[in-house]
Symmetry: C2
Subunit: 149 residues, 2 copies
């Protein structure tokens, strides 16, 4: 696999990641471990609630999108390591049976002040459901090494 | 459980959540499902890598902190529902055996423009490890209903 170093990346560059379909069992399993609220972990209570059905924990959505990002190898075999995230939006819920498709775009590249061997690359990842509705947007700042001399 | 509506909350209010210790097995299980990079999912490769050992996926840390937040019932039995997050920081890695302690603070309360029955409450959650080092900061914007008339 070809590694993509800081010098190989460009603002505006897009990376299409794969897609994932999330089942009710997966939503329940994640929620019962990490976010056991009725809307995520109890199908009957969720059906009576404001969303009229079960919705995935937003952190489950984030984890599923991370998996798609990792599998798309945007930096080749270099690690995808986030220092932090500028923001997350969950504009629409993710429901059992929904399929998310993820697209990543490089929105900023800047040198690291603390480590001249690296830069910080802001990558916006947008997940859409099978109807094309945006369900998740995340904008992490990733450490990317310069090409070794 | 007493519900805490928008009118019951104050900027500056702090909520101490519980603590959680994360094992190597838990780090590996999460990583293999959601973030299968060597530094999170392969102890031997991680030992040779820049962190000199396994570190938790940042999304695993986020999920563990969400669980502590949910269990602390900051709104009583009202759901803790995030519209989005202003930012996340992962200043230090979380390693096997680390114990995280979480404190939440209400940093902003504003009315919802779109739904007068609700407000948006910004809650900053800070997780520290057993040495008091900050390992995770997240600032979600949560929907909170006004007290019913």
């Amino acid at each position: 696999m070809t590694n993509h170093y800081l010098e190989d990346l460009q603002v505006g560059q897009k990376i299409r990641a794969g897609s994932v379909t999330v089942s009710e069992d997966q939503i329940l399993e994640f929620a019962r471990q990490y976010d056991p609220q009725p809307m995520h972990a109890d199908p009957q209570a969720a059906a009576r609630g404001p969303f009229r059905g079960l919705i995935a924990s937003g952190w489950h959505t984030a984890a599923l999108v991370m998996r798609l990002a990792v599998d798309s190898n945007p930096l080749g075999s270099l690690p995808l390591l986030g220092l932090g995230v500028d923001g997350i939006e969950w504009p629409q819920p993710v429901r059992p049976g929904d399929t998310m498709q993820v697209e990543m775009e490089i929105v900023e590249i800047r040198p690291s002040q603390s480590r001249p061997s690296h830069g910080i690359v802001k990558i916006r990842s947008t997940a859409r459901n099978q109807r094309g509705e945006i369900v998740f947007v995340v904008t992490p700042n990733c450490w990317v090494p310069r090409r070794p001399a």
